[in-house]
C-alpha cells in the first residue's frame, strides 16, 4: 500500500520549472531514496509535499488524503513531518525543550511532552545533553536533535532532507543506524541524500530527479546500472 502518492507534481517559479510532472508512490514502512544532482528539485518537492509551497500542478496524496493547499502545521498534525537541509535548532532553548515543542503537537500536557521528549532523546542518544542550549551543540548532534524533535511529533511519514550533509563518516554512520532503527518501528521515510554509498545501503527504492524531472525509479541495483543515471551524474561518455 502506498502511504504517499506524488501525482504529476509540477512547481514553477516564474518561467523556471523546479519540478515538472513528477510522479511516484512511496510504499508504507519502506525507505525511499530521493537523489539527483544539485538543483534537481529535491527540496522543492519536499516543500510542495509539506505545504511550504502549493504545487503549481498535480496532487500530493498522503494517507488517502489530498494535501494540496494545507499549511505546514496541518501537514505535521496529519503525520507527515520533515527535517531541514540546513538544521534549524531553536538555539536559545534547551535541547529538551526543542524536542518538547515537537511532542506538544500530540499532547497539551507539559508533563507528558517532557516524558515523550526524554524518550526520543534516548533514541538519538542525546539524553545526557538534555539541559544544554541547542545552540551549544556541534553539527552532528544538532542533526540528531532535529531527528529527535521530528520523531516527537509521531509521524507516519518522515522526510529527511540531507540529514547526513556536512557530517563525518562516524557521524553519518550513527544517522544511518538511526534511520534503520526508525524503519523497524514501521515509520515510512523519504531520504534525500548526496552520499551514494549511504543511500544505496538505506533505500528500498530510489527515485532519481534531474532538472526537475523524474529520470529513473527502481531498486538501488537497478539505479546504479541505469545508463541515464550514470550520465546525469558523471556526464555522457565522449
Amino acid at each position: 500500500m502506498a502511504i504517499l502518492e506524488i501525482r504529476h507534481v509540477s512547481k514553477f517559479f516564474g518561467g523556471l520549472a523546479a519540478n515538472s510532472d513528477v510522479s511516484f508512490d512511496v510504499p508504507e514502512g519502506r525507505i525511499m531514496g530521493l537523489i539527483g544532482p544539485n538543483g534537481a528539485g529535491k527540496t522543492t518537492l519536499f516543500n510542495c509535499m509539506t505545504g511550504y509551497y502549493p504545487p503549481s500542478r498535480g496532487e500530493v496524496i498522503f494517507d488517502g488524503r489530498r494535501m494540496n493547499g494545507l499549511k505546514p502545521d496541518r501537514v505535521c498534525k496529519l503525520g507527515m513531518a520533515r527535517t531541514w537541509q540546513k538544521v534549524r535548532p531553536l538555539t536559545n532553548l534547551p535541547v529538551l525543550d526543542n524536542v518538547m515543542v515537537g511532542a506538544l503537537c500530540r499532547t497539551s500536557s507539559i508533563r507528558r511532552a517532557r516524558a515523550m521528549a526524554h524518550e526520543q532523546l534516548r533514541v538519538v542518544r542525546l539524553d545526557h545533553k538534555a539541559s544544554l542550549l541547542a545552540g551549544a551543540l556541534p553539527i552532528g548532534e544538532r542533526k540528531r536533535l532535529e531527528v529527535a524533535r521530528v520523531l516527537a511529533t509521531q509521524p507516519k511519514l518522515l522526510l529527511f532532507d540531507e540529514v547526513m550533509g556536512g557530517l563525518n563518516p562516524a557521524e553519518s554512520e550513527e544517522i544511518i543506524q538511526l534511520i534503520l532503527e526508525i524503519r523497524r518501528t514501521g515509520v515510512t521515510q523519504v531520504v534525500i541524500e548526496h552520499d551514494m554509498k549511504s543511500i544505496m545501503r538505506l533505500s528500498d527504492r530510489i527515485v532519481v530527479l534531474s532538472s526537475g524531472e523524474k529520470l529513473a525509479e527502481g531498486s538501488p541495483r537497478e539505479i546504479v546500472e541505469n545508463p541515464e543515471v550514470i550520465e546525469a551524474y558523471l556526464g555522457a561518455e565522449q
Partner: protein, 361 residues
C-alpha cells in the same frame, strides 16, 4: 523507566533552597500590600503607581515581543484604546471606571485580533513598521474625531462615582491609595500570567515561534493563531494599564496615551530590564521610572551642586539648572544606548553573567 524517574533528571535540591525564594516572594508581596499603611508621602505612592503601570505595559509587551519574538512598536494603540474607552465611558456615559476598564480591555482584544490577522502576515522589520503605522492611525484618528474623542483637547474627568466595597464607601479619588492597590494587583496579575504562560504549552510554542518560524510551522504550530493569542494577552493587559493611567491622572489626550514615544518607552522597559524573562520588565520599570523622574525634575543638577561637584553660581551650574531638565530626553537616550551597547541582554542578563560565572568557578 517510569514517568517519575524521567521528570526528575536532576538531584533534588534541599528543602530550604527550594522554599526560600517562595517565602521571599510571599513576604515581598505582603510588604507591597502594607506600604500605603506606613508610607504617607504621596510622591512616593505616585512613583510606585507609575512603576506598577510600567511593569504592566512592559510585561504585556514582553509576552508578544520577548517570548514570541514579534517586536511591536505600536503598543500605544492598545494603551490608548484602553484609556480612551474608560475615559469616554466615564465622562460621556457616567459609567464607572471599574466597569469601563473591562470594556476597554475587550475593545483592545478586538482591535488586536483585527490588527493581528492583518499584520502577522509580515515578518521581522516589516511587522515592526506595520505596528508603528497602526498605532499612528489610532493617534491621528483620536486627534481628528473631535465629536467622539474631543480631539487634541483631550478628556478631563470631572467626577468619579463612589465605589462601595464590602460596606466601605470610597469617595476620595484624590487619594493615591486606591490606585496603588489596583496597580499592584494588575502588576502581580500580569507577572503571574507571564509565569503560567511560560510554564504551559503556550510558552513553548511562543518561544519556538521566536526562535525559528519555519521550524515551528513544520512542528505543527499554527503561526497565525499563536501569534494572535500572544498579541491578545498582551493587548488586554496593556489596555488595563491604559485605563488605570487615564483614571489615575484624570486627563488624557492623543499626545499622552497614543504617541510613538510611549510605544518606544514600552519596548525600552523590556530591553533595559531583560527581554524574554519574567523579571526583566519589572527590573526595567524599577530602573526607568525613577531615572526619567530624576532627569525630568533636574534632581541630577541639585545632587551635583549639593555634592560640591558643580558650583551653583558658576556658568556651568547656572547652565545646568536652566537647561538640563529640558535635555532629559537626550540624557535618557544616551543612557539607553549605553545599556544596549554594553548590556545587550539587559540588566538581568548583565547581572546573571556574573552570578553564573561565579557559580561555575
Amino acid at each position: 523507566m517510569t514517568t517519575e524517574a524521567i521528570s526528575k533528571p536532576f538531584p533534588a535540591r534541599s528543602v530550604l533552597a527550594t522554599l526560600a525564594p517562595k517565602v521571599a516572594i510571599v513576604l515581598l508581596i505582603a510588604a507591597l500590600f502594607a506600604v500605603p499603611r506606613f508610607v504617607e508621602s504621596t510622591y512616593a505612592l505616585h512613583m510606585m503607581i507609575l512603576i506598577f503601570i510600567n511593569i504592566i505595559v512592559g510585561s504585556s509587551w514582553n509576552i508578544l515581543g520577548g517570548y514570541t519574538g514579534q517586536y511591536s512598536v505600536g503598543h500605544s494603540a492598545y494603551f490608548g484604546v484602553g484609556a480612551y474607552t474608560v475615559m469616554m465611558l466615564l465622562q460621556f456615559r457616567q459609567i464607572a471606571p471599574w466597569w469601563g476598564i473591562w470594556a476597554g480591555s475587550l475593545a483592545a482584544l478586538m482591535v488586536a485580533v483585527i490588527i493581528g490577522s492583518i499584520c502577522f502576515r509580515l515578518r521581522g522589520p516589516y511587522f515592526v513598521l506595520a505596528s508603528i503605522a497602526v498605532a499612528e492611525i489610532f493617534r491621528v484618528t483620536a486627534l481628528n474625531l473631535k465629536n467622539v474623542t474631543n480631539g487634541a483637547e483631550g478628556i478631563l474627568v470631572t467626577e468619579i462615582p463612589p465605589l462601595v466595597i464590602g460596606g466601605r464607601v470610597i469617595t476620595d479619588w484624590f487619594s493615591k491609595v486606591p490606585f496603588y492597590y489596583v496597580g499592584l494587583v494588575f502588576a502581580l496579575l500580569i507577572v503571574g500570567v507571564t509565569w503560567s504562560v511560560k510554564k504551559s504549552k503556550l510558552g513553548y510554542y511562543f518561544q519556538a515561534i521566536r526562535e525559528d518560524q519555519d521550524a515551528a510551522h513544520s512542528l505543527g504550530i499554527n503561526l497565525t493563531f499563536y501569534k494572535n493569542v500572544a498579541l491578545g494577552i498582551s493587548a488586554v493587559f496593556t489596555a488595563l494599564a491604559g485605563g488605570l493611567y487615564g483614571t489615575y491622572v484624570g486627563f488624557i489626550d492623543p499626545s499622552t496615551v497614543l504617541p510613538l514615544d510611549l510605544s518606544v518607552q514600552i519596548v525600552m522597559i523590556c530591553i533595559i530590564g531583560g527581554i524574554g524573562t519574567i523579571s526583566g520588565p519589572v527590573i526595567g520599570a524599577l530602573v526607568l521610572v525613577p531615572l526619567s523622574e530624576v532627569l525630568r525634575s533636574n534632581m541630577l543638577t541639585e545632587w551635583l551642586i549639593k555634592a560640591g561637584v558643580v558650583n551653583a553660581e558658576s556658568p556651568i551650574g547656572l547652565f545646568m539648572k536652566e537647561h538640563l531638565s529640558q535635555a532629559h530626553m537626550l540624557i535618557y537616550g544616551v543612557l539607553v544606548v549605553i545599556v544596549i551597547l554594553y548590556m545587550p541582554r539587559g540588566i538581568l542578563g548583565f547581572v546573571s553573567r556574573f552570578t553564573t560565572r561565579r557559580a561555575g568557578a
